[in-house]
């Protein structure tokens, strides 16, 4: 599957295309299939996302998992600071990255 991701313009936070808007959580991301480029240009033009790009991902029961480790780090947060990730209360969350 293909995901569309980028950063919020004002905060720089990592965001994921949900099909109708943007979410901080990769679990909410949808497969953009062949429409990724069109959505990318429309959303970037409207300043609803900054520096967007399309990535490969794998569908899992827990939701999409980016294919490359760099995007998994982006999706969760730094592995060395679990307290600063999107799941600070889950000590095993970092296992999802590796």
């Amino acid at each position: 599957m293909k995901l569309l991701t980028g950063n919020e313009l004002r905060s720089g936070a990592v965001t994921w295309w949900t099909g109708s808007g943007w979410s901080l959580h990769v679990e909410d991301a949808v497969d953009v299939g062949e429409h990724g480029e069109a959505v990318l240009h429309a959303e970037e033009g409207a300043r609803r996302v900054n520096a967007p790009y399309i990535i490969d991902a794998v569908a899992t029961p827990q939701g999409p998992r980016p294919a490359h480790i760099k995007d998994r780090v982006r999706a969760l947060g730094p592995t060395v600071r679990p307290d600063l990730t999107l799941k600070p209360a889950d000590p095993a969350a970092g296992d999802w990255i590796i």
């Binding site: 905060s11 720089g12 900054n50 294919a67 480790i69 060395v80």
Partner: protein, 542 residues
């Protein structure tokens, strides 16, 4: 310390106002990201993996307690309560919001700080010896020269769009504590028959093509130094490659045309530049130098009580001799076992500022090894300083030992990285946590980069580790034999790479080989240089 004059302050304030306008225009959609990116980079603002990252300049790594407290304040108010001290003697914040950045920079400007020229193809923050003004072996204080270069290079109209970024280091001691010859230009202040001048080295660097800068001139008189450096830059600006980013650094130019030809062209250009009258008048040099006058040293030369064994170890490892009797140089390690190299919380930054104010003539230094220095501490105060550091978890007695690791932010933060650096540093430091074991190994400089750009200086590590991406999986190459010191050398890859745990095991095996083969007072790198790679390879790869 240097204090801004009206011109310094006005250009920094004007830049804040200009950037505020640019940010507003970007948020309002009046300019695109492609248009905005070079503008934000000129102000040190990157877009990294999780957020915007701001790199704040700390000129030649020198700051006072007021500035240090501002760094803590920035971390607390605009970031997530910590900052990361870098190998360029700067500080980076990892979670900055674009819309808040102008206010942040305005607050920085109130303490004579900024983020200008911490990115982009310009002359970056001038780096220097963290022991400047305190080292017994220096022939002069390098800071006035670093400050002069800072002023000269700030908004230099000719050098704002160089082929590539440009890094300059100034030292004034035979002992190189600033990796001087791994800079685009390295200057070593020297005296010939009492006259001050500089050895000039050009074309060093790390990155994907590591090179040691050759000596281009053995002695440039102090009066000619600025003109000579201007000539060095002009030749590079004219002939440096702009068609290929990987060949754009000055080291490639010097290597391709040869040091002799580069030297000839610089001499030719220098003859012209010298007619332009850009070298500062004596009065200006004296004005700058006056800011760096030695503090009022008045402490009696008393040796500290060594009865506390932990304090004694810290004294032996982290405290260095000062040129003034009664004083010492204190190194504050930002490398706790299992911690993140170079990171400090705002509370810790405040503690260091307080100690500088109370015990250190209000001065701090950031080192390229990502530690902090209090350059002037009376020996009578060392125990009190140590106690305060210990309470703040800052009394790690591991300076220059295997756990004093330089590590770039790596894939945990950096969009350029291919692999994580910090977890490897944490695992190695934890493996060697025992202080007796570390001290038995002695000086062992271990440096880790998460990609070929080498921000973690792995080429200059006695042991270097380079993280690479092998089909989407992190892999770590080992290099041995590098040094950023006066015995400068580039490390060599020893063989196939390892996974994260494998590289920690390999490092441990290397230390065992060293312990078996070392002779006398040999350091790891001395033994490696004497016996060569084979015994290490055999132990590591079987």
């Amino acid at each position: 310390m240097y204090k801004y004059d009206h011109f310094d302050q006005s250009i920094v304030d004007a830049r804040v106002a200009e950037f505020r306008d640019q940010v507003n225009r970007r948020i309002a959609g009046e300019i695109t990201e492609d248009q905005f990116k070079p503008l934000r980079l000129m102000n040190g603002l990157y877009l990294q993996l999780h957020a915007y990252m701001l790199r704040v300049a700390i000129p030649y790594g020198t700051l006072d307690s007021r500035q240090m407290r501002m760094l803590a304040h920035i971390a607390r108010k605009y970031d997530r309560d910590y900052g990361h001290f870098t190998t360029r003697q700067n500080i980076q914040y990892n979670w900055i919001k674009l819309e808040e950045c102008p206010d942040l920079l305005a607050e920085l400007a109130t303490v004579e700080m900024h983020a200008i020229q911490t990115s982009g193809n310009c002359i970056r923050n001038i780096s220097s010896d963290q022991y400047a003004g305190a080292a017994a072996d220096e022939v002069a204080d390098p800071r006035p020269w670093a400050e002069l270069l800072r002023q000269w290079s700030t908004f230099h109209p000719e050098f704002s769009y160089l082929p590539r970024k440009f890094k300059i280091a100034v030292i004034a001691s035979p002992e190189d504590r600033a990796a001087m010859r791994l800079h685009d230009i390295g200057l070593e202040l020297v005296r010939h028959n009492g006259e001050l001048g500089a050895r000039v080295f050009v074309g060093g660097g790390m990155g994907r093509t590591p090179m040691i800068a050759p000596e281009i001139n053995p002695f440039v008189k102090a009066d000619d130094l600025l003109s000579y450096i201007e000539a060095c830059l002009r030749v590079y600006n004219r002939y440096g490659r702009r068609d290929n980013i990987y060949k754009a650094r000055i080291k490639i130019l010097v290597h391709e045309i040869g040091a002799d030809e580069y030297r000839r062209q610089v001499a030719e250009e220098f003859a012209h530049v010298k007619t332009l009258g850009i070298d500062p008048p004596l009065a200006e040099l004296e004005r700058i130098s006056a800011f760096f006058a030695p503090p009022a040293f008045d402490a009696a030369d008393v040796e500290p009580d060594r009865s506390d064994p932990d304090f004694a170890v810290w004294l032996d490892q982290n405290v260095k001799p000062h040129k003034q009797a009664g004083y010492a140089i204190v190194n504050i390690s930002l490398k706790p076992i299992g911690g993140i190299p170079g990171d400090a919380t705002s509370a810790q930054i405040d503690v260091m500022a307080d100690l500088a104010e109370q015990y250190g003539f209000d001065e701090l230094r950031v080192t390229h090894a990502q530690n902090i220095v209090l350059p002037h501490v009376a020996k009578r105060d060392l125990h009190a300083v140590w106690q305060a550091l210990r309470e703040a978890d800052l009394a790690n007695a591991n300076l220059d030992l295997i756990s004093d690791i330089i590590a770039c932010p790596g894939l945990d933060y950096c969009s350029l990285a291919n692999a994580r650096s910090i977890p490897v540093a944490q695992k190695i430091a934890t493996r060697f946590a025992d202080m007796d074991r570390q001290r038995d190994l002695g000086e062992l400089k271990l440096k880790i980069s998460g990609c070929i750009n080498a921000c973690g200086h792995h080429h200059a590590g006695h042991i270097g580790i380079l993280g690479v991406d092998r089909k989407g999986v992190e892999n770590y190459q080992l290099t041995f034999g590098g040094s950023g010191a006066e015995d400068v050398s580039i490390g060599k890859i020893i063989g196939p790479g390892f996974d994260e745990d494998g590289v920690v095991d390999a490092v441990e095996k290397a230390t065992e080989v060293y312990k078996t083969l070392r002779e006398g007072d040999e350091r790891f790198i001395d033994t490696y240089r004497r016996v060569g790679l084979e015994p290490f390879k055999e132990a590591i790869y079987g």
